[in-house]
C-alpha cells in the first residue's frame, strides 16, 4: 500500500534527523521518565494564575439572566428598575445583540438556521439560554440587578425526544428549517447488503446514550477590555480552541481578527467543555465595547451545568456474522439529539462514524445519521466526542454477538481484531490506523486482570466481568464537517506554531502558544526541550499562556488529544532550528565544524573533548556582539516554527481520515452487583494502554486513570435529568453526581509502547481513552453479573434504582 512506504520513509527520516544525530540510539535523559509535574507546586499553592486571578484597572462585572423555560417566545423585557439600581452600567438584550452581531451558523448542516444569536433573540430554545446581560461595578450588584428584570414569556410546546421531534406537526426549534432534522446523510463502504444477505447470523440492538458532561473545576471566565486608545479588543478567557475563537468572535462582532488579542491563562481543566466559550466571549466583548469598561464574567457552577453537554442519542447497531464468529458487515443508524444549537450539529455523528469499526477488521459498513434539534441545551465536543458512545455501542453489540455465536467475548474479540501484521491498516472509509498491536493489548489485559479466574469465581456470587477494547484517536483532521455540507472547508489538516528562544542570559524559553488545561504540557515540553538541548530543567522556561498575538494557526488549541503530536511537533521544529543555529555560532566561537559539536549540560562542546563554550556565551554573540557574527547569520536566537501532521488527507466522501493517530486500550472491569439495592461495586479495574512512545509515563498513567474515572461517572453516576417541560433538574453537584475518590476503584494501568510512525517521537493520543473505553467495560460487567436475571444493558447510567428495576423485569 502506498502510504505504508510513505510511513517507512517518514519513520526513517525521524530516526535520522531528530537533531541531526541518531536520536533513538542516544541514551535518553528526560524522555520516557516519570518526571514530576512542575505545574503542581504552583497549583497547590494557588499561584497558577488562572483567568479569574487577572483584573484590568477599573474592572466591571457582568451577570447573565438565563431563560427559565426550554421553549418560549420572549414577548417583552422590562429592565428599567435594573438600570436604575446604583452601580449598574448597562443592560443588554437579544434585540440589541441581533442588531450588532451576526447569527451563529451551523458547521456541518447543509442549511444553517438563521435566527440563533449568542443571546436569545425573541425566542428561547433551552432552559438556561442567555436572555439579558447586565454590567455593574461589582458582581453582587450585577446579580442583584437580575432580580429587577421582568421578562414576559409565551411558552411553546417542548421537543423532548426523538419521537417528539420527528412526528408530523411537531413544534419546530427552527421555523426557518421547516423540520427538526437539521442533518440527514448516509455513507456506505463495501457491499453491506451482500454481507447481510450472506450472513449466517445477524444481531441488532438500539443502544442509547444519556446526557452527561465533563465539569471542569474552573468554570468559564471571560474578561474583555476594549481599549479605545489602541483600538484593540483584549480578552482574557478560558478557551481550549483560541485560534478558532478569534476568527468566530471577529466574524460575529464584525471586527478584524487583527484587532483582537485573546489571552488564555492556564486553565483548571478543559475536557472539551471549554470549546464553547466563544459565545460568551462575544457577549462580554460586546458589553465592554458598549460600556467602555473592562467587563469580567465568571460562570457559576449552576450556570455551567445548564450546558453545554454531550448529546443524548440512540444508535441502531447491526452486525452480520459468519458461523465461525467473524464480523462481515455492520450497519449503523445514528440519531443524535444535538440540542437546539446548530453550531456543532452533526460533529458527534461524523466522528463516531470514522471510528465505527473500532479495533476490528470489518470489511463493509454503512452509516446513516440524523442530527435532531430539540429543546435540550447546546452540545459541546466533550471528552472523546462521540467515541465514548460509539465504543459503548460497538462493545455492547460485540458481547451480544459473541453470545449469539456461543463464544467467549474475549475470544470473539481476538478473532475479529485487526492483526498487527496488517498495520498500518486502512478502514473501509479511509481512517488510517498507523500502528498498534490490538490483540496483544487485550491478551495482556486478560492476563493482568486474571480474567479466567474471575470467570470461575463468579459462581455463587453476582460477580461480572466486562471487557471493552477501544481506539483512542488523536489529532483531528479538521474539516470533516464538510463531508455532508457542500463547499470548501475553512480549515483542513492539523498543526500548530511554536516559538523558542535562547535568551540573552542563556535560558531556553519555549512557547508552545497553546492553552494549558492541566494535563502536564509544561512538564512534557520541558522534558523534550531538556532532551534536545541537554539543559538543566531550571534553565528551561515553558510558557503556560496562549496569546493570539504571538502567532498561531487557524484552529490552534488544546483539544482532540493532539498535544503530543502537533504541539510537540511545532516545538520540536523550532528547537531543532534553534539548536542548529546555536551549533553554527558555537562552531564560529570554537573553530570546530558544527557536525563535531554536541550539547552538554548547558554548554556546546567538541565531541569527545572538554573544549566547550557556554550557551550564555553563544547568546552574547547573538544578541550583543553583532559585529562578530559570522557572515550571513542574523542576530538574535529566536525561532518561530510550525508543524502539521502530513498524514491528513483532504476530504472526499469515499475516502477520508478524521483523525491522525490512534492509541488503543483494553479495559477489564470486575464488578459485584447487589440486586436488592441495585448497587455496583467495582472489585478490579485493569487498563492496558498503548499510546505509542510515552514522554512521561506518570502523566500518561494519570490521564488514563482520570479519563476512566470520567467514564465510570458516565456509566454509573452522572446524568442531566430533564422533566416533562425540559427543565434541567440537575443544576447543583448535589443532583448532578460526579464520582469522588471514594467511588473510583484502584485502577491498574499497564502501558505498552507501539510507536506511531507519523508523529515526531512516535507519540499518540492521550487523555480521552478511559472516557471512550470504560462505559462498555462497566456495562458489560454489570450485565454479566446479572446473567441470571436475563437483563440486557442498552442504556446508561446504571443507577441503583435502574438496576433494581431491571432485575424486577421493569
Amino acid at each position: 500500500m502506498s502510504f505504508r512506504a510513505e510511513y517507512e520513509t517518514s519513520s526513517d527520516r525521524y530516526k535520522r534527523d531528530l537533531y541531526h544525530s541518531t536520536y533513538v540510539e542516544t541514551q535518553l535523559k528526560y524522555i520516557g521518565k516519570k518526571f514530576r509535574r512542575v505545574e503542581d507546586r504552583d497549583i497547590v499553592r494557588g499561584r497558577m494564575g488562572y483567568a479569574d486571578d487577572i483584573d484590568f484597572p477599573g474592572q466591571h462585572y457582568a451577570a447573565i439572566l438565563h431563560s427559565p423555560y426550554a421553549h418560549a417566545l420572549i414577548k417583552s423585557i422590562d429592565y428599567t428598575e435594573a438600570l436604575n439600581l446604583a452601580g449598574v452600567k448597562y443592560v443588554l438584550t437579544g434585540e440589541e445583540v441581533a442588531r450588532l452581531t451576526k447569527p451563529i451558523t451551523a458547521r456541518a448542516a447543509p442549511t444553517s438556521p438563521k435566527t440563533q444569536y449568542v443571546m436569545a433573540y425573541r425566542k428561547v430554545r433551552y432552559m438556561g439560554e442567555p436572555v439579558v446581560a447586565v454590567v455593574a461595578e461589582n458582581k453582587y450588584v450585577a446579580r442583584d440587578a437580575l432580580d429587577l428584570i421582568n421578562v414576559e414569556y409565551e411558552r411553546r410546546p417542548v421537543v423532548r425526544d426523538l419521537d417528539d421531534a420527528l412526528r408530523p406537526g411537531a413544534p419546530l426549534i427552527y421555523e426557518e428549517l421547516g423540520t427538526n432534522v437539521v442533518i440527514h446523510d448516509k455513507f456506505e463502504f463495501g457491499d453491506v447488503e451482500e454481507a447481510f444477505q450472506r450472513a449466517d447470523k445477524t444481531v441488532k440492538r438500539r443502544i442509547g446514550i444519556h446526557r452527561y458532561s465533563s465539569t471542569p473545576l474552573e468554570t468559564y471566565v471571560v474578561n474583555a477590555n476594549y481599549d479605545k486608545l489602541r483600538d484593540l479588543l483584549e480578552v482574557v478567557a478560558t478557551d481550549q480552541q483560541p485560534g478558532r475563537t478569534v476568527q468566530s468572535v471577529a466574524n460575529l462582532l464584525g471586527l478584524p481578527m487583527s484587532k483582537i488579542r485573546l489571552i488564555v491563562p492556564p486553565m483548571g481543566g478543559g475536557f472539551g467543555y471549554k470549546l464553547a466559550v466563544w459565545q460568551y466571549i462575544a457577549i462580554i466583548s460586546l458589553l465592554s465595547m458598549l460600556t467602555g469598561r473592562p467587563v469580567k464574567w465568571i460562570q457559576t457552577r449552576s450556570e455551567s451545568l445548564y450546558g453545554p453537554h454531550r448529546p443524548k442519542g440512540y444508535m441502531d447497531v447491526e452486525l452480520a456474522l459468519s458461523s465461525s464468529g467473524k464480523v462481515t458487515g455492520m450497519r449503523l443508524t445514528d440519531w443524535e439529539m444535538d440540542g437546539n444549537w446548530p453550531y456543532v450539529a452533526g460533529l458527534y455523528s461524523l466522528i463516531k462514524f470514522a471510528n465505527m469499526s473500532g479495533p476490528y477488521e470489518i470489511p463493509s459498513y454503512s452509516f446513516e445519521y440524523y442530527s435532531i434539534a430539540t429543546n435540550y441545551p447546546p452540545v459541546v465536543q466533550d471528552r472523546g466526542v462521540g467515541k465514548p458512545f460509539m465504543t459503548f455501542a460497538l462493545e455492547r453489540i460485540m458481547d451480544v454477538a459473541a453470545k449469539s455465536v456461543g463464544m467467549d467475548p474475549a475470544e470473539f474479540r481476538l478473532r475479529n481484531m485487526v492483526p498487527p501484521e496488517k498495520m498500518p491498516y486502512v478502514t473501509p472509509s479511509g481512517e488510517i490506523y498507523e500502528s498498534g498491536n490490538f490483540p496483544a493489548t487485550l491478551k495482556k489485559a486478560l492476563e493482568v486482570a486474571e480474567y479466567w479466574k474471575w470467570k470461575e469465581a463468579k459462581k455463587g456470587r453476582r460477580i461480572g466481568v466486562g471487557i471493552s477494547c477501544g481506539i483512542e484517536p488523536g489529532t483531528s483532521n479538521l474539516g470533516y464537517y464538510y463531508l455532508t455540507k457542500p463547499g470548501t472547508p475553512d480549515f483542513t489538516g492539523a498543526g500548530e506554531m511554536s516559538t523558542v528562544e535562547l535568551t540573552p542570559d542563556g535560558y531556553l524559553r519555549v512557547n508552545m502558544n497553546g492553552p494549558e488545561i492541566g494535563t502536564g504540557h509544561v512538564t512534557t515540553l520541558k522534558q523534550v526541550s531538556c532532551e534536545i538541548f541537554d539543559l538543566d530543567p531550571e534553565r528551561v522556561i515553558v510558557s503556560k499562556v496562549f496569546d493570539s498575538t504571538e502567532g498561531h494557526l487557524g484552529y490552534s488549541g488544546t483539544y482532540s488529544n493532539a498535544f503530543n503530536d502537533v504541539y510537540i511537533g511545532a516545538a520540536l521544529a523550532a528547537l531543532r532550528q534553534l539548536r542548529e543555529k546555536v551549533l553554527r555560532l558555537a562552531s564560529h566561537l570554537l573553530g570546530t565544524e558544527p557536525s563535531d559539536l554536541e550539547m552538554r549540560n548547558g554548554n556546546v562542546c567538541e565531541k569527545g573533548s572538554s573544549r566547550c563554550v557556554e550557551l550564555s556565551e553563544v547568546a552574547r554573540l547573538a544578541y550583543n556582539r553583532l559585529t562578530f557574527l559570522p557572515a550571513g547569520e542574523s542576530p538574535g536566537l529566536r525561532i518561530i516554527a510550525s508543524y502539521s501532521n502530513t498524514t491528513a488527507k483532504p476530504f472526499n466522501r469515499s475516502n477520508f481520515n478524521v483523525q491522525l493517530t490512534h492509541s488503543n486500550s483494553a479495559h477489564v472491569a470486575v464488578v459485584e452487583v447487589d440486586p436488592q439495592l441495585g448497587s455496583v461495586k467495582i472489585l478490579r479495574y485493569v487498563i492496558v494502554h498503548d499510546a505509542g512512545r510515552v514522554i512521561n509515563p506518570g502523566i500518561v498513567e494519570g490521564l488514563a486513570i482520570g479519563s476512566t474515572a470520567s467514564g465510570i461517572g458516565g456509566a454509573l453516576y452522572e446524568e442531566f435529568v430533564f422533566d416533562e417541560d425540559m427543565n434541567n433538574l440537575s443544576l447543583t453537584f448535589g443532583d448532578y453526581l460526579k464520582p469522588t475518590a471514594m467511588e473510583i476503584p484502584d485502577i491498574e494501568v499497564v502501558q505498552m509502547e507501539t510507536p506511531a510512525p507519523n508523529t515526531p517521537f512516535g507519540t499518540k493520543a492521550v487523555g480521552e481513552g478511559g472516557a471512550i473505553t470504560s462505559l462498555a467495560a462497566v456495562a458489560n460487567a454489570v450485565e454479566d453479573a446479572l446473567t441470571d436475571y436475563g437483563v440486557e444493558v442498552t442504556s446508561l447510567p446504571l443507577t441503583p434504582e435502574r438496576i433494581w428495576k431491571m432485575t424486577r423485569g421493569a
Binding site: G128, L677, G678, V721, S730, T732, E801
Partner: protein, 286 residues
C-alpha cells in the same frame, strides 16, 4: 421551576454579626437575625438565594454551645459541637457509640469538620443522619430564647422536611441524649459515600440472657420526619430465637413515606429500607 434564581451563586446582601455572648445572639435573633452554626446548609442555600436573610448571627464565639457533658443517664451535646467532634469524642464513643457512628457517616470530612449537631437538627433535612438515631435514643432538643428555655422531644421538634418547632427568636442550645445501655447499629445507603441517604436506619437492641429486649428501629429519609417501626419492635421484644417477622416488616415499611428525588423514587426507597432492615436483623440473631 418558576425562575432561574438558583443559577447565580452570589448571596443577596446581608448584615453579619459574630458576638461573644449568648445574650447578644438572642437579642439579635429577636430582631430577626438568623443564626449560623457551621453554615454547611445555610450558606449554599443563600448562594442559591433560596434563603435571603437580612442578617446573620454567627455562633462561632459562643463557648457555652460547644461542650459535651456526660451525666448519669444522659449526655448533653452543645449545639455547636461538630460532627467530627462527636465522631471522635471518647465520652460519646463509650456511652453512646451508635451516635458516634451516625456522625462518622455524615457527608465528607469537610462537612464533618464544620457542620454541627445543632445546625443539623435545626435545618431538619429529612435525610439527615442524626434524625433516626436521635429518635431511637429518645433525645430531647433544648431550646433557648430571650423569654426562657424549654425542651422538646425530637419527634415533636422535627415536624417534617425542613420544618421544626422552633419559634421566632428561639435557638437550639443543646441536644440531650439518654444513655442507651445496649447495642446499636446504623445503616445508610446513598448514591455516593458523601451523599444524603437514599435510606437510613438505626437499630438499637439489648440482649439479656439471649433474650431480645428494648428493640428500637428508627427510619430516616422520610417526608414525615423519622419514624419508629413500633410493630416490628413489639414483635421482636422478648424473643429468644430467630423468628420470621418479614410480614410485619413489609407491612410497616409499606406505610412509610420516603422522600423522593432524582436519586430514588418512593417504591425503590421502601425496597432499600426493607433490605437494610432485613440485613441488620441478621445481627440480632448472632
Amino acid at each position: 421551576m418558576e425562575d432561574d434564581e438558583g443559577s447565580l451563586m452570589y448571596p443577596a446582601r446581608f448584615d453579619y454579626y459574630r458576638p461573644s455572648t449568648l445574650n447578644e445572639v438572642l437579642e439579635l435573633m429577636e430582631e430577626g437575625c438568623r443564626p449560623m452554626a457551621g453554615g454547611q446548609s445555610l450558606l449554599p442555600m443563600m448562594k442559591l438565594r433560596l434563603l435571603t436573610p437580612n442578617c446573620l448571627v454567627d455562633l462561632g464565639e459562643i463557648e457555652e454551645l460547644r461542650g459535651i457533658a456526660v451525666y448519669k443517664d444522659t449526655v448533653k451535646i452543645g449545639a455547636m459541637v461538630t460532627h467530627n467532634e462527636i465522631e471522635e469524642s471518647q465520652e460519646i464513643s463509650s456511652s453512646i457509640p451508635v451516635l458516634a457512628q451516625t456522625a462518622a457517616n455524615i457527608g465528607d470530612l469537610q462537612v464533618r469538620m464544620r457542620g454541627t449537631i445543632g445546625g443539623s437538627v435545626s435545618h431538619a433535612d429529612p435525610s439527615a443522619n442524626y434524625l433516626p438515631t436521635l429518635l431511637a435514643l429518645d433525645a430531647k432538643v433544648k431550646l433557648v430564647s430571650k423569654s426562657g428555655r424549654r425542651s422538646l422531644p425530637l419527634q415533636e421538634f422535627v415536624r417534617g422536611p425542613l420544618l421544626t418547632g422552633l419559634k421566632q427568636g428561639e435557638l437550639v442550645e443543646a441536644v440531650e441524649v439518654p444513655i442507651y445501655g445496649g447495642n446499636g447499629l446504623i445503616r445508610k445507603f446513598s448514591r455516593r459515600k458523601a451523599d444524603f441517604a437514599i435510606a437510613i436506619v438505626t437499630l438499637l437492641y439489648k440482649k439479656e440472657e439471649r433474650r431480645l429486649n428494648d428493640v428500637r428501629v428508627a427510619v430516616g429519609a422520610l417526608r414525615t420526619g423519622p419514624r419508629r417501626l413500633t410493630k416490628l419492635e413489639e414483635s421482636l421484644n422478648g424473643r429468644m430465637g430467630r423468628i420470621d417477622v418479614s410480614d410485619i416488616l413489609i407491612r410497616e415499611v409499606k406505610s412509610l413515606e420516603p422522600v423522593e428525588d432524582l436519586h430514588g423514587g418512593v417504591e425503590y426507597r421502601r425496597n432499600v429500607i426493607l433490605t437494610l432492615i432485613t440485613r441488620m436483623m441478621e445481627e440480632l440473631w448472632r
